[in-house]
């Protein structure tokens, strides 16, 4: 592979794979050093950032690479959380079985949503996925026998060796690193290229002989798989799940994280998750009106950096290089 970046899409400059590995290792180094730098509470915030960055990245696969913006990934994420907690607390399965169940459940739900939604695009896709996510929320809220309704499901499912903030953080860091690399290779693969092609012009891809529906179906299901893994990690983090985990706000927050970081950059998910979670937690210690601050920040970003933080950074760097 040559060192020059491939200019496949005119919209965003892409980093070359070599640069990508360097940046990733840099971020990983910071991640490894974090518990030594900050107190226990901020380490648990770091764990949250990692888990939600996986959700944001899974949304970016659809929104950024396939060009279809979904509003249901929060529900898919939460289905996994519910399944894991239900599996351990109610059904009494061993933890590993419950985690597998959670990921499988999320992937199945994503597959079903995909079958229903991929023939639409744009606003219709957005609305359809919103509605599908709400169906999941409605079930979780009212099927009290299974999901606990308003009370949710409580558990104490984290294994003893991951009990503290720091051990669990390292476990999640490892998981996030592995999964992020898998997602990155997924979108950089020929399959990922096809998704980008479908995003740029579905008609042209079809005339070239690609089965665009199959590509979108597989892309959606894979993004659901990744969201499901994040959901299972969240179950271990929180030891608790309630209907707000599958609500529309969760999907919207995930999408916001992807947008703030930069749609179509994949790594923007990490930046967006960090930005939003840290903003939420730090600003709310100073004022009750933190949602206003969040909203204003978002407006600011949309006006001055609509391609997201990472997108803007890359644009600036490219201009600087040229």
């Amino acid at each position: 592979m040559s060192g020059a970046p491939m200019k496949i899409d005119a919209q965003l400059p892409t980093a070359s794979p070599a640069n990508g590995w360097i940046v990733l290792l840099g971020v990983l180094a910071v991640g490894l050093a974090l518990p030594a730098l900050v107190s226990g509470y901020y380490v648990s915030l770091g764990t949250q950032v990692l888990i939600f960055s996986l959700l944001a990245m899974s949304i970016d696969i659809m929104a950024g690479y396939a060009g279809r913006t979904p509003l249901c990934h929060g529900a898919i994420f939460g289905v996994s959380t519910y399944a894991v907690l239900y599996g351990v607390s109610v059904a009494g399965f061993p933890l590993v079985t419950a985690i597998a169940l959670g990921i499988a459940a999320a992937t199945c739900v994503a597959a079903i949503f995909a079958l229903l939604a991929i023939r639409t695009s744009g606003v219709y896709f957005l609305l359809l996925t919103l509605a599908l996510g709400m169906i999941i929320w409605g079930i979780c809220l009212r099927w009290t026998r299974v999901t606990g309704g308003e009370n949710g499901i409580r558990g104490d499912i984290r294994p003893a060796f991951l009990g503290g903030n720091v051990p669990f953080y390292y476990a999640v860091l490892g998981l996030a690193a592995v999964l992020a690399v898998v997602m990155w290779r997924f979108v950089s693969s020929p399959f990922g290229m096809s998704l980008k092609g479908i995003r740029d012009s579905e008609g042209r891809m079809q005339s070239l002989g690609y089965n665009t529906n199959l590509h979108l179906f597989l892309g959606f299901t894979m993004s659901g798989f990744f969201a499901g893994v994040a959901g299972a990690a969240y179950a271990l983090f929180n030891n608790f799940v309630s209907p707000s985990t599958v609500a529309l706000t969760q999907s919207v927050e995930g999408l916001l994280m992807a947008i703030v970081g930069g749609v179509g950059t994949l790594w923007g998910g990490l930046i967006g998750a960090a930005a939003i979670i840290l903003l939420e937690n730090i600003v709310s210690t100073y004022t009750e009106r933190w949602p206003t601050v969040l909203g204003l920040t978002f407006i600011f970003i949309m006006i001055f950096a609509p391609e997201g933080v990472l997108g803007k950074l890359r644009a600036v760097l490219t201009r600087f290089r040229n």
Binding site: Y41, N151, F240, S242, E288
Partner: protein
């Protein structure tokens, strides 16, 4: 200078430094503040109640000058937004970042259960004057969770079931918010009512924050029941009372309200539609008991409104824990000692006027009033006791061990006796 002047000056200097050093010594002995984490829903369906939790709590600490046993009291207030996920996040922040000595508060049972699950893992004492989930002092007792100045969900509706039987009601229905507090309150009512020969015709459950209750009211109107047990809190309670009156059902079918539905936080903004409503509770702001009236007068002077269960319970809860802190001489870091002290306190100067103590399972025993909503001389609505059920515990007349063998109240199990 000569020797005399020197001796006099040195003596004065030593005496002066001795006096000056005294405050330093006392300051060094004075310990760091006692940090309390108070969580309340300042936004959401019970926001009015949440605000009063904070008010009642602050009023007590201000009344003792903001310090107990020589240590200052520092209260950090967090909003749980009536959402269990948010409550969990805030609890985590209070314990791990703000390093509070103990947690207090929350209103909705689902938020309390989420936080209780969290403190079970790290041993932080958690005091819950309003969280009424039965099992926290029954089948799923957690050693560091104590219901100071609180009540369990099924405790107060049981006398209501008995009252309904004494009024001659034979058939009843229940309408309730669909979460654990609602299930347990209705369960308490239904079990007592059916064990006394009454019949529960149908039960209605709706999600929290249901704006339009007409589908349920329409069905209730056609059921042919003598009475309806109403389990609503916060905004849902105001809406129910107004819509019941608008439907023209007031007076046609008798209502037996739960204590939250006729609480001050609900009725103070209502009018004639709330008059005459009957409920059962351990606290009635219209009670003629002198200590109750003094508390009501103080509260009204400070906040320009009559106290609700939320203000009262957190005032009494703070009083209870303050007594315990005094008992352990301010050493709140020793959690075992603090919790043992809390469980042993018999509170004699609470606004209820009677001594209150915890039963062996960690829940208070109260005299429960049958109370009615009436107009005070200045036109404000308040709850006045009509009759009393003395010394009601969370187990009513049942033997605790036998009672705990039956399943917890849920949507599926309401204690209804099969005839």
């Amino acid at each position: 200078m000569d020797r005399r002047t020197f001796l006099r000056n040195s003596a004065l200097a030593v005496a002066g430094s001795g006096i000056a050093a005294e405050p330093w010594r006392i300051a060094a002995a004075q310990a760091t503040p006692i940090k309390i984490g108070l969580m309340a829903p300042l936004t959401g369906v019970v926001a009015a109640g949440g605000k009063e939790v904070v008010e009642g709590f602050q009023m007590f600490w201000d009344s003792v000058g903001g310090e107990i046993a020589g240590r200052k009291i520092e209260v950090t207030v967090e909003d749980d937004a009536a959402n269990p996920d948010t409550a969990l996040q805030k609890a985590r922040r209070l314990v791990e970042q703000a390093n509070v000595h103990f947690l207090f508060g929350n209103i909705l049972a689902n938020t309390g259960l989420a936080v209780a699950n969290y403190v079970k893992g790290n041993g932080t004492p958690y005091f819950i004057p309003v969280i009424a989930a039965d099992d926290l002092t029954q089948r799923a007792r957690i050693p560091n969770v104590v219901r100071v100045a609180g009540y369990s969900a099924s405790q107060t509706p049981r006398p209501a079931g008995d009252y309904a039987l004494k009024q001659g009601y034979k058939k009843a229905a229940t309408i309730s918010q669909d979460y654990s507090f609602g299930h347990e309150q209705c369960g308490g009512f239904c079990q007592t009512f059916t064990e006394g020969g009454g019949q529960i015709v149908q039960q209605f459950w709706h999600p929290l924050n249901t704006a339009d209750l007409s589908p349920y009211l329409g069905q209730i109107a056609n059921l042919g029941v003598d009475a309806v047990f109403v389990m609503e809190t916060g905004a849902d309670a105001s809406r129910f009372i107004q819509q019941w009156s608008n439907f023209g059902l007031k007076g046609k079918i008798q209502l037996v309200m739960c204590q939250n539905a006729t609480d001050q936080s609900v009725i103070r903004t209502l009018g004639a539609e709330a008059e005459g409503l009957v409920s059962c509770a351990h606290f009635a702001e219209g009670s003629p008991e002198p200590s109750t009236q003094k508390f009501v007068a103080d509260y009204e002077k400070r906040y320009s409104k009559l106290p609700s269960i939320y203000g009262f319970s957190h005032f009494s809860g703070a009083m209870w824990v303050a007594e315990a802190i005094k008992k352990v001489n301010g050493k709140v870091e020793d959690r075992e000692a603090l919790l043992t002290a809390v469980r042993s306190i018999e509170l004699s100067n609470s606004p209820l006027g009677k001594t209150v103590k915890l039963d062996p399972y960690g829940n208070p025993i109260y005299d429960i009033f049958v109370r009615k909503v009436a107009r005070r001389s200045d036109g404000k609505l308040w709850n006045v006791p009509v009759s009393t059920y003395p010394s009601v515990s969370q187990f009513w007349k049942y033997d605790p061990e036998t009672y705990m063998k039956q399943p917890s109240y849920s949507r599926d199990f309401q204690g209804i006796k099969k005839t």
